[in-house]
Each structure stands twice: as C-alpha cells, then as structure tokens.
Amino acid sequence: MALGGTIRGKKTTLRLPAEADLDSYNRWMADMRVRRAHRVWHEPAMPATWKERFKETAKDKMGVLWSIDGDGRLVGFAAGSFWSMTQLGFTLRQLVIDPDQWRKGYGFDAALALHRYLFDYLDLPRVGAEVRADNVAALRIGERLGYVEYARGHEVHYRDGGYVDEIQLFMGKEAWQERWSAEREYPPLAADAAR
C-alpha cells in the first residue's frame, strides 16, 4: 500500500500517515465499537509490529493509506486498493473514525473528499465498498454519495454471538457527476491559462 498525500475536505484532511499515528491506529483496532462496525485493519500489536506493517504498507503498489485529521488532530484513517492495470477502479476497504469522534460529520466529509479525488483527480470510472448490513452510518454515507447495492452476502461477519450480512456497493463516475459535479478541488482553468 502506498501512502496517500493531502486531500482537503471541509472539516477533515486526508494526509500522509506518519509513524506517530500508529498508536492511535492500534487503539482503534482494539476498540470493540470499531471492531463491530468494520473489519480490522490488522489486529492490535506491539509498536514495533505496527512500524513493520507501516513500512510494508508504504511499499505496496496497489493500495493507499491516508490518515484523517479533523479540526487539527488525528481522527481516523482510510485505506483501499486499486484494482489492476487493465481494470481501473478502487475499493475503499476501511474508513475508520475514532469512536470518540463519531457523529461529528467527519466520516462523510472525509468520504466526500476522497471520492472527489478518486473520480475528479484520478479519473477512475468506478469505486466499490463493502459494508456490514447493520452499519447504518456507513450505509447512509454511501447512499448520500451515490453508491448502489449490487450484491448481498449472507451471514458473512460474525460478532456479538451472531452473523451479520455484508452489502457490496458500487458507484460509477456518471453517478458521481450527476450528484457532485460542483464538487471540485480546483477552480476551472482561466480561459487564457494555456496561452
């Protein structure tokens, strides 16, 4: 997984992750509120193990990891992977917000900024995500962004003594443009900019 650069939202900034963030990653992966909502992105471990994972992550060519800042401090991370040389697309695997910072709009703001980057900057034709069927907040974010369900895996995740389904979501560039065409990172080029 490569390390992602700066993507600015209104409340949040996705930015280059640093070793100093790893302690928070570890804490979130050990938090049962996070584990019920998401798949873990590595199990809790010693600082040295996280540092090794971080080095490996930086070398991975198909994945990208960002830390997310909200109001000037670390509040989460996002991770996903590109599909292949011949199939252009991106799967968002994790969008984790510190449970103590839930319900402040950080998740949607970071997701909107990230999708703007994927569609508007990288020009990807499609993006996918997999969400647990009872993760209402994630499903709401997906719906607002323009995702649609294309498959439902039954009894995929096990926690709290029972299974929960997994919903597979998809969004194409057309859906993004229909809904978010005004969402641009840069203003349009001036008419005489290329002269």
């Binding site: 292949s84 040389m85 011949t86 199939q87 369900e149 294309y150 498959a151 439902r152 895996g153 039954h154 009894e155 995929v156 995740h157 096990y158 597979q168 998809f170």
Partner: protein, 180 residues
C-alpha cells in the same frame, strides 16, 4: 497450502499440486480459448516466477489449492483462498487449462470435491466467488454444488467489443446437495 488427494467420479481427482503442475500454467493461462472469462493474457509468466508462486502457495495458510487431474493427467487447478479462519469464509476459484476437454463435467466434479472438503474438513461456514455471467459452464458447475446468486456486478470487464457482467455466488454447508 495444498490440499490432499480427493478421488471423485468419471476419472476426476483433486491432487496436491507439484512444481511440475505449476509449470504447465505457462501453456494454459495465456490462450484465447481459456482466457475469455479469465485474466488479461499477460503476466510474469516465467518458470522462475511460477516456482516462486508455487513456494508462496505452499506456505500460505489462508488458501488450499489442488491440481485437477483427469484420468491422472493434470488439466487445471482449483482451490479456496483468502480464508478468514475467524469468520470461516473463503473465496473459491477454478481454471480448466485443457480447453479440448471442456464440456466433460470435469469442473462440476472438481467443484463438488472442493466444496465438500470445505464443509467436512475445513469446517468453513461460507464460500463465495465471482464468475462471468456468460460463463454458463462454470456457473452451472458451482450451482450444482449449492452456490446461489447473491448479486450481479454489471459491466465488470470488457472483451471483444462488449461488456461482461459478473455473477456473485455464495454457498453454505446446508446448500450442499449431499446435506440438503
């Protein structure tokens, strides 16, 4: 890791893969006859890379792979991979490299052996897969062993001037024919 030998019907068996089996993939994986519903027909297909992949597969505890033998001759490969041992979920796949043997029920029998092993020996809870919707032979082979549609991914890949959709299937021990 590689799975144990499983003998099926009509001369079909799943056998633990060897390096020689892996090297056969050089001739299997890059042909138009076998690739319509498969990969992009290029890759790091050298003997050295295949040897590396063989060792990696043997060491990997999140997959179980077999060579498919037909009357003791290697003709393809199959397996379950990305096994999540906590959720007891895995993805499955199959590739018949000998296109002159298509239509003989080899895939159906291989999927039956593989799926039965997933339930009876690995104690998995669920196995899922992606198959090109137009690949009716593979879809049917999986459905016979209890896979059911959980969704369709439209316009998954582009071949020969048209878009191909993909069928997403899932199977459980209770959908396996022998346990229904």
């Amino acid at each position: 890791m590689f799975g144990p030998r499983l003998d099926g019907e009509n001369g079909v068996a799943l056998v633990p893969s060897t390096l020689e089996h892996f090297k056969l993939r050089l001739g299997w994986l890059l042909q138009p006859e076998t690739d319509r519903f498969w990969g992009p027909r290029f890759g790091e297909m050298t003997e050295e890379k295949l040897e590396e992949r063989f060792k990696k597969t043997a060491d990997d505890e999140t997959q179980v792979e077999w060579t498919i033998a037909y009357h003791d001759e290697p003709v393809g490969f199959t397996g379950v991979f990305d096994i999540d041992w906590v959720r007891r979920d895995a993805e499955s796949g199959i590739f018949i490299g000998r296109h002159d043997l298509f239509g003989r029920g080899i895939a159906s029998e291989a999927v039956r052996l593989r799926t039965g092993f997933a339930w009876r020996e690995l104690r998995l809870h669920r196995v899922h897969n992606w198959i090109a919707l137009a690949n009716r032979g593979s879809r049917r082979a999986n459905e016979k062993s209890g896979y059911k549609q959980m969704g369709v991914y439209r316009k998954s890949f582009f071949r020969s001037g048209e878009w191909y959709d993909e069928w997403l299937g899932e199977a459980y021990p209770h959908t396996f024919p022998e346990q229904r």
